[in-house]
Every structure is written in C-alpha cells, then in structure tokens.
Subunit: 316 residues, 2 copies
C-alpha cells in the first residue's frame, strides 16, 4: 500500500501488477477530427476498459495492495457510479467481499452491474451524509476496509497506468487533455506524463457547471463542489486531499467548458470515432471545440474516461 | 485487375497493396458477452475502418488495380450507402475523379460525406432503373469506369483482407459469422477463412425481411431481392453473379433473423462493446441471440461490417 505520492517505479510496478486483470486499451485516431482541429489527436479509450471505465485500474490496484487479513474482511465504498462497478468487479475477481453503499435513486443499470459482479449493495438516502453514515456502519460491523474512489495513493497509481500505456505507444505527445472530477484520473495522468513523457503539458478539462477544481486552483485551496449541474455525471465530486497537491504541481491549467460544447463533442466522438462514451469523456474535446487550448500542429493525447451510459439518455 | 476468383496469394498481395491506405482494425472481446453465450467471440471492428466500413478495403483495391488511362478517366458507381463514401475517398486519395449517382432521397449525412471526400454527385429518382440509367449516361459522357460495389473480383479480394487480418491475429477460430447483402463481404470472408484458417466454418447471417440469399441458396440460383424490408439498410441488395458461386462453395449455411433480434443485438453491442455500429453489423449477433447456431465453447469470429448510422435513428 502506497503512503505517499507514487514515484516512477511505483507506476511501472503498478502496471506490471494490474496488467493481468485489465485491458491495455486501444488508442484511436480520426483523420477527419485531426483536419477539423489542425492537430493530431490520440484518444486513449478507457471506455473499452474492464467494467467500462478507467476506474478498474485503480480498483484492481487497491485490492492487490491489501494484506491477507484485509482481503478476508473485505472492502467497502460509497458510489453511485463507475467506481462501484469497478470495485465490485475487482473484489469479485479475487473472492473478496465488496460492500457498496448506493443511493436509492442510483440508475438501475449501475445497480445491476454491481450485483452482477457480486457486490453486496446497501441502499441509502441520496445525500453525502447518508452515504457516509451507511458506509461507516457497514465498516464497523464487518471490519471491511474503506477504499476511497480517488483520495488514495494506490488508486492514483492505478489510474496513472493509462497514461503510462499512452506514453509508451505514442512517444512524441506535446499535450494531454483529461477530464477532472475528484482528481484521481488527472493526478495519475499528470504523474505519468511527467515521468514518462518528454515535457508533456497536462491540461485538466472541467464542466463550467461543476467548476470546483477550477476555483480551487485559483484559490490555492480545495473549494468543495456545491450543487454542481452538468450532464457529465462522473465529474460532480470535490477534489481529494491527496489529489490536489499533485494537480497543483503537475497540471499546467484547468479549463472549463459549457454544456452545449460537451454535447457537441460527444456527438462528434460517436459519429467520427464510432465509440460509445459517457458525457464526462467528451469534456476534453469540448475544450478543443471552444478553442480554449492552442493545439496547432501538436500531438495531443486525450483520455476517454469511460463508456457507461444509459443509451436512452443520449442527448442527440 | 483480377478476372477470376481470388487465390490465396491474390489476397495476401491485396492486403500488402492496400495496407498503406486502410486500417488494420481492432478485434474486441467482451467477457460478459462470452459468458452470456458460452463461447469466445472475437469482433473484427470494421466500423473503425476508413470511411466507416469494410467497403474501403475493396474500393481502395479496385482503384489501385486501374491502368494509367483508366485512372485519368475516373470511376463511377451508383450507391446510396457505404460504397459511395468508400469509393469517393479511395478515388480522392489518388486524385482520380469519382462519379457517384445517388438517389435524391439519400440521407444528407451520406451525401455530405461523399462531397467531403471530393466525389462528384449526380442525383436521380430513387429507383434501380433510374440509378442505372443515370450512371450509364455519365460513363458514356466521361469515359469513367464503373466499379460495382460487390460483383467484382478486385472488390471481393479487398473485402477478404478483413478476415485475413482476423485469422492472422486469432489463429484458432472455429466459426466466422458475417452479414450477407450483395455478397461482397461474405464471399471475401469465406475465401480467406478457407485459405488462412484451419477448417473454419463460415455462416452468413441475413435479415428474414431481406432473405434473398437464403432463398437463392435453397433454389441453387440467384433469386433477386424484391421489396426487402429491414432496419439493416446495408443488406437490401441482391446477390452478385461473381459472388454466388463463391458463397455456394465456401459458405456452409445462411441463417435468417428477425428484426427484434437485430435491435437487441445492436443494443448489446452498444452497451457491452461500447462501439457505434450500423444495424447490418448486428445481424450475426442476432443469429446467436436466436440460438440458430451451435457455438458452445467455440472460438467465434464476428465481422462488424460498419458504423455509419444517423444517430437520431438509433432504435433504442
């Protein structure tokens, strides 16, 4: 278990350790998108990752970092989204009990996925307080260990492996764009870009309707997300204590985008890359559409974070 | 230019020749789909091919097979679908004029794609007679050479390269499932499975609402498609003269599927493989859903033919 910011060898070791349990996801390109935006874009497609998002990387790593007795007692988390599925899958794979607290209004498709992976679900009222209280109770009853979805160095090391794979395959990236929510993915991305790239600039992309990271960066301290409102439902959370210092040090800036651009970007990705993504994954391309980043003739890595979406809710 | 059924070396030569201009498309798998159907499925994803479908393989090969004088005079075809885009792109790439006859009711998205690739479009009434007449006129005016979308050995050789790639990567396939329309893709698939596989059984999958191939196989002669009715808009055409003998010899059977299964299969592919496909691509998985093929514990190749779809028309 890591107790400090992952170093270069921590990340390569993490990838070696989790590789048998995750996909080295494909990197897609589109001639037409490149010509639209005058750059070369490389989309790292974590929508094809196990359980449908990058979260499987961190979840597998966190489970593999537990001691024998911790494995027996199991793990717990509260999540309505991708981390619930990823942790249930990672735990189920190794026969570790996984206690997942989900709000009673969680989408049925996500509840079913967690069940399919063998997660033990406890429902609660859809407030953060109710979720934390329910989880607290389960942890004390069962002795299970809480795995935080992003404020955890093993999780950060796991998420960083997507960009390690990207940097190994595309060796001359100038910029990487990545969505920012709680900060697990972006902090891992920034670390790997720093260790394994050649002066890669990392830019975090955030919905204007959930711009707590943008405001935190300006203020120099974590400003919690209050009443966020965006279609990018993976990016509603507040920054983690362990994530923020990494972001401050290794991310060059945070840009915000509006909802229309997110939807346009999503549509472009469906039409041109022919892949199914969730709205959060479209936020970096939305920043490009809004012309917020100078990219001309550059090699641009874009992290597609996940593909878990209720198809009936596609906004076009 | 090939004047007879492509042989083994014709196909490897074709792949060498077209490789610089097309994608070696990814092969995707899904643990969940495998466990649902008790087999191992390998999806060859031609939805990621240039211009969005396998048609680019044949189109590029046909263009590369032309003489200097033919290249100057250009090429022509009538198509409302994927072949129009693929031929316009292949011709545009080599600065060859491409005359495309399209019905006046062709979807705008397809018309725009053909224009983007530099195709010269002539609109006509939406009947086969009007299309053939308009094309005939253009060919006689311009001296352009007609490239048939499937009844052409260079096209068949081009389409066969998808399965050559598949057999090189997955060396122990037992079965390949492939949609059947005019017969270009399935005849190429069957030839490559025969030459490069180890006793692979090839099964063609067809919508019951456009079952001319099924009926042709029973009758032992080509029975034209009359008033076909299916969501799988790439599979409306009648079998070609050059395709049918190959199908009779190398395809073990043709199975038909209903529309509900096609839509269910399409949804499963969007949800589980996270890829955007057109309805025709879902027809093989529909046959599996209908339990029409014995697959238990087998390694099953599935050709995903293309991903060109108007997103507003997704039926779920």
């Amino acid at each position: 278990m890591l107790v400090t910011i992952p170093g270069k060898s921590d990340i390569t070791n993490t990838l070696d350790r989790i590789s048998p349990y995750i996909h080295n996801t494909p990197i897609l390109t589109s001639t037409l998108l490149n010509s639209m935006f005058n750059c070369s874009m490389f989309f790292k497609c974590e929508n094809f990752q196990k359980a449908g998002s990058f979260k499987s990387r961190g979840a597998v790593n966190a489970i593999l970092g537990l001691s024998e007795s911790e494995l027996r007692a199991g793990v717990g988390t509260h999540s309505s989204g991708n981390f619930a599925q990823a942790l249930a899958r990672a735990a189920g794979m190794l026969n570790v009990p996984a206690h997942i607290v989900m709000p009673e209004n969680a989408p049925k498709v996500k509840v079913n996925a967690v069940k399919q992976y063998g997660g033990k679900i406890t429902f609660c009222k859809p407030t953060l307080a109710a979720r934390e209280e329910a989880l607290e109770q389960i942890l004390s009853q069962t002795g299970a260990k809480e795995i935080h979805p992003y404020d955890n160095y093993d999780i950060i090391a796991g998420q960083s492996t997507a960009t390690l794979e990207l940097c190994r395959e595309i060796t001359d990236l100038d910029i990487i764009l990545c969505p920012i929510g709680g900060g697990g993915l972006i902090s891992g991305t920034a670390l790997s870009a720093f260790y394994f790239g050649n002066n890669i600039e990392v830019i975090a992309c955030e919905p204007a309707g959930a711009d707590d990271a943008y405001r935190s960066m300006l203020a120099g301290r974590i400003i919690p997300s209050v009443d966020p409102n965006t279609i990018a439902d993976g990016l509603l959370t507040s920054l983690g204590e362990r994530n923020f210092p990494i972001i401050k040090k290794y991310v060059s800036k945070i840009v915000t985008v509006n909802e229309d651009s997110i939807i346009s970007a999503m549509k472009l990705i469906y039409e041109r890359l022919k892949i199914v993504i969730e709205p959060s994954s479209a936020v970096p391309l939305a920043a490009i559409i809004e012309n917020k980043i100078e990219l001309t003739d550059k090699n641009v890595g874009i992290i597609i974070s996940g593909g878990n979406i209720d198809l009936a809710g596609i906004p076009f």
